[in-house]
Amino acid sequence: MPLVLDSVTPEEFLAFQISREVRDFERTAVGTLSPVPLLGVLHARARHASHGKFLIFGSEETPVTDGSRELFDLAQRGKLDLFFLSGAQIDREGNINLTCIGEYGAPRVRLPGGAGSAMLYYMTRRVVLVTLAHSPRVFVEKCDFITSAANTPRYPWRRGGPTKLITPLCTMEYDGAAAKWRLASLHPGVTYGEAQKETGFPLSPETAPDTPSPSPADVALLRAQIPALKKSYPMFADDLARKIG
């Protein structure tokens, strides 16, 4: 049985899970092509992280003058606490592929590329992965191309890395010592068997608590963020507004 939700859209449900990862007094950045993370971050700012600093693509509240370089430098200096990434493939060890499907020299699909993610995955204190598709095509044993590396024993130093993975079926936590994902919670209506069937690597443990649903007040607060969301992602915001009705 797929995700079953009452009075909240899947996008809002995932955004709520993202909001729970945002902490007050921290620096959080939201990159491009990240409408769901942005909705979650806006909710967190309105609910529990009002003292945080937010670098939001398309926002004029904390604009930057050096473009993505300013974000990359911020992360390398150790001042980026939380960032969000996704991947066309995410593997068992937490590596991400944003480069190509198939051989690099003769790819079946050429993807947009990693931008700064090869560095950001090391230098951001916590990276939360968010994907809107949970299937064996996304969750693979080993990425065809590692754009961002999670498990790198030979590398001398990293500041942070993946901590959490949020999908339409479940959440996972990254176990850095074991260099693999651990099932943390299953969304309402999702069974372990279904989540495992859609995951191309072994999912453990076999039991996990339910992912908490947003309260009516949280749903209202998420919806109150739509005007702000619209400044960065007008089409996504309009679609969401239509779904809510």
Binding site: E60, T62, R77
Partner: protein, 161 residues
Amino acid sequence: MFGFAGTDYEKVRGDFRKVTDPYSGNEIFVVPAIRPDWAVIHAIRADGNGNVVCSALEADRLAVLAARQAIVTVEEVVPAENLLARPGEIFLSALHIDLVVAAPLGAHPAGCVHSYGIDRAHMEEYLAASKTAEGFSEYLSRFVLGKTEEEYRELACGKAV
């Protein structure tokens, strides 16, 4: 860092290391990054979101970017639409700043770009006073110790405004 080789700094700055540039094969000096715990700068104005415009003529912005934590005092807080940096000024995102403090005349007796110049008379008074430990103590008692920001402005800045 280019140059440097053959200077006497080589003898006194052991932390500057000579490495081979893997691209050109030339030997070159590298310098460790400076990471101040704090940067405290005085800027021209801020908006309500904590973004500031500071002097582009000094290394103020660089100091804030380098430091682990940064405090920025500003002449005034203005509406966001009036924050625009003019020539000689540069924008600095709130992202890099931990605390913004409204402190009119906060650079006194030094100057603040586009706001006021150096208070030369006060500077000379300070320089004369600070020649001796007693003079320096007297100066501090008169202008700084136990004084509020408002009292300092009243005592010291009359001539500057």
